[in-house]
């Protein structure tokens, strides 16, 4: 027995997963997609040192680079809470075999290291070290510097594992670290205490005295040992994965008034907040509300209304495409039940539409504060909102009737392409670029208000005729019902 056998099993499980048998075209698209992401990060890593040299010729690029490292690692830790999953379950089939515990531990640790989040930093560190650090401090210092940085990555890795194992419910911890980072940055910003300076002098001292790189190495080893010790005494699946917190029954009283439809919406809300994957997608939708601060000023300055509309569409309607891309698949594990409970299809589809309407209206109301930035954003966002709920919601429901893929709710969302097919790609294109193009053409050739009107009208029409559209969607759903059910039963 050696480790490679286990890793080979993991490799097989990855490729033989039910949903991995996607069509060739999708695999190629995904491959290109991954490749582009890696390329982009590598490009940033390579361009960064030159950029620093060029833009700020008077300052030392190393001192700037190192001053941000403290934030880099803290944010890295934060990102890991969200993106990195514990591979605990992968040892379940081996626990009852004649394999020593020590070995399983080694497997668990090695397996956990194989994660893109551990490889990405290399792209940011290595080019900088080769281009900037090595010429000024010499090869030995550069190598030690790299060792120090990579040890900190490993330190973060095992720290995250440990924290996640100890506190399965890490939402509070996540916010604590977030507040901590914000506080550091705040102190920096108001020049009360300079952590950037501290960070810079810490890392530069490693360059001056390379032997100091043993400190982060020691830290990484320490965290590794603590983590290992904990694992050794808790090598029971129950203790590694299950949550022991008491779950409470919830009742959304404000939805009670809506009768059965309210009940269905409450069901969707519980689905979102009690399962990893939909939860992270929805948190992302909420975070997108902040996009306005990033993009609106830029396009307001140049009066580029169609780009403003495009982002308004994302801000007010992203929930529809994020949650809607798996509209029925979210419930795939109990879809047999959904189809036999005492309710009818019309109610079921209408509940989905009502969910979209509720959440998007909320997002629209919050986004209206952007009106303080410029009054022009108000009509643009209103048009985007009307189009989202009046057209995109129905398009999304329609497209969902073509999704026959089972979805495991408990897996996290990052880099998870389970259940994604060609339809999802088409859908995202259709519901964002389509209306943006219409807006652009109308704005360009006729005028701003015509563009606003041009995209609002179909939305308003959709809202007025929603009953008949839902009836039509029900008939479409019924045509493909058996296929959906069959697909969902295939796990």
């Amino acid at each position: 027995m050696n480790l490679s056998v286990f890793l080979k099993h993991q490799w097989l499980s990855f490729w033989r997963a039910r949903n991995a048998n996607k069509s060739l075209a999708i695999q190629i698209i995904l491959g290109v997609f991954y490749f582009l992401i890696f390329l982009e990060i590598a490009a940033v890593g390579i361009v960064l040192p030159f950029l620093l040299k060029e833009k700020m010729p008077n300052t030392n690029p190393i001192s700037i680079y190192t001053s941000y490292l403290i934030y880099y690692f803290l944010i890295g830790l934060l990102a890991r809470f969200q993106l990195q999953e514990l591979p605990s379950l992968s040892i379940q089939p081996y626990l009852s075999q004649n394999i020593r515990r020590k070995f399983l531990l080694r497997f668990l640790n090695t397996r956990s290291l194989v994660h893109y989040i551990n490889f990405l930093p290399l792209f940011i560190f290595i080019p900088f070290i080769i281009v900037v650090v090595a010429p000024s401090y010499g090869p030995i210092a550069a190598i030690c510097f790299f060792i120090a940085l990579f040890s900190l990555v490993l330190n973060n890795h095992f720290l995250n594992m440990y924290i996640k194992r100890k506190t399965i419910n890490n939402a509070w911890f996540f916010f604590a670290v977030l507040v901590f980072i914000a506080a550091l940055k705040g102190l920096d910003y108001f020049k009360l205490l300079s952590f950037e300076k501290a960070s810079s002098s810490l890392f530069i001292s490693i360059l001056k005295y390379p032997i100091l790189c043993l400190v982060p190495v020691g830290m990484a080893i320490f965290v590794f040992i603590v983590n290992n010790k904990y694992l050794k005494t808790h090598l029971y699946i129950e203790e590694l994965v299950s949550e022991n917190k008491k779950k409470e029954s919830k009742n959304f009283t404000f939805l009670n008034r809506l009768g059965d439809i309210g009940e269905m919406i409450a069901l969707d809300l519980k689905l979102i907040f009690r399962n990893k994957r939909p939860k992270s997608l929805v948190v992302l939708s909420a975070a997108l509300l902040l996009y306005g601060f990033l993009f609106y000023p830029k396009y307001l300055a140049t009066n580029n209304f169609s780009m403003l509309f495009f982002f308004a569409l994302l801000i007010t309607g992203i929930f529809i495409s994020n949650y809607g891309q798996f509209l029925f698949s979210w419930q795939s594990s109990h879809f047999d039940g959904m189809m036999t409970y005492n309710t009818n299809m019309h109610q079921y589809i209408k509940a989905k539409f009502s969910l979209f309407l509720t959440v998007c209206s909320l997002q629209f109301l919050i986004a209206s504060f952007y009106g303080l930035m410029s009054w022009r954003l108000l009509p643009i966002q209103l048009a985007a909102y009307l189009y989202s709920v009046g057209v995109n919601s129905f398009v999304t429901i329609y497209v969902s009737t073509f999704n026959y893929r089972y979805l495991d709710l408990r897996k996290s969302a990052s880099m998870n392409f389970q259940g994604i097919g060609a339809m999802q790609w088409l859908q995202s294109l259709l519901i964002t670029f389509g209306p943006a193009l219409v807006f652009y053409l109308l704005d360009h050739f006729v005028g701003f208000w015509y563009a606003v009107l041009g995209v609002s009208l179909p939305g308003v029409a959709g809202l007025i005729f929603h009953e008949s559209i839902i009836n039509w969607l029900v008939s479409q759903f019924k045509i493909r019902k058996y296929k959906i059910l069959e697909g969902f039963r295939e796990r």
């Binding site: 299950s242 008491k246 779950k247 409470e248 029954s249 919830k250 009742n251 059965d260 009940e263 069901l267 519980k270 689905l271 009690r274 399962n275 419930q331 594990s333 109990h334 879809f335 047999d336 039940g337 189809m339 036999t340 409970y341 005492n342 309710t343 009818n344 299809m345 709710l409 058996y482 059910l485 069959e486 039963r489």
Partner: protein
């Protein structure tokens, strides 16, 4: 209650279900037996309109189950975990199903209190989501949720296989009582010919999708089944 004519469902040219004529009546407890692959679960899914049939017709109270959704108001089933919403607590699930059947929270609570013995203190107020319960307890939750709407037709797939002995015996009594008092039509599939001959008033024996025996339940049925399964 349910009338099946010329029903056929095939996968890759092989018949999974092929039934010429079958009528199921109120007050009957129908035991469905047969070895693996005989088509029991497929038949259930056909009756619940969860898979598309190739040919034939299924009428529930005279209405085609594919044309009208009325059957949902008086039909309940538990086949597997696919009928449970696993991220809810049992209470939430019961209230949800109750609400769909026009039962208030208080109604549901009243109803649940009559099944306390069956739950054996292992289901309610446990502070767990359904997905964290054992398979046997999930089965109990599914069965009780199915009974919530006071259905006229009840379909249970292998209920005895997952329950502990005490619950099996309780379920046998419950089924008999419901069929008698409420004139329900109950269809139960099982590999346990002992329980099935005790609980059923009528036994259907399936083989390769067809019903090859349609006999009365009881001791003689048990003997007949033993004869059949011995030589298989």
């Amino acid at each position: 209650m349910i009338k099946i004519t010329n029903l056929r469902k095939s996968y890759n040219g092989i018949d999974a279900v092929n039934i010429g004529h079958l009528e199921l009546n109120p007050g009957e407890v129908i035991g469905l037996v047969g070895n693996n692959g005989a088509g029991k679960t497929t038949l259930f899914r056909l009756i619940l309109d969860l898979i598309r049939r190739n040919e034939g017709e299924i009428l529930s109270k005279g209405n085609s189950i594919t044309q009208s959704e009325d059957w949902k108001s008086y039909t309940a089933a538990y086949i597997d975990e696919g009928f449970l919403i696993d991220y809810l607590t049992p209470e939430e699930f019961f209230y949800f199903v109750g609400k769909l059947n026009q039962l208030s929270k208080a109604d549901v609570d009243d109803f649940l209190s009559t099944y306390q013995v069956f739950f054996d203190g292992a289901i309610l107020n446990k502070g767990k989501y359904i997905r964290d319960f054992s398979k046997g307890n999930q089965f109990k939750i599914g069965i009780i949720a199915a009974l919530l709407g006071n259905p006229e037709i009840l379909i249970l797939d292998e209920p005895f296989a997952n329950l502990d002995p005490s619950s099996q015996l309780r379920l046998v009594d419950m089924i008999k009582l419901m069929a008698m008092e409420r004139k329900m039509c109950i269809i139960v599939s099982s590999h346990d010919i002992n329980h099935v001959s005790e609980v059923s008033s009528r036994i259907l024996l399936m083989e390769k999708g067809s019903i090859i025996k349609d006999i009365l339940g009881g001791e003689s049925a048990y003997a007949e089944m033993v004869d059949y399964f011995k030589i298989r």
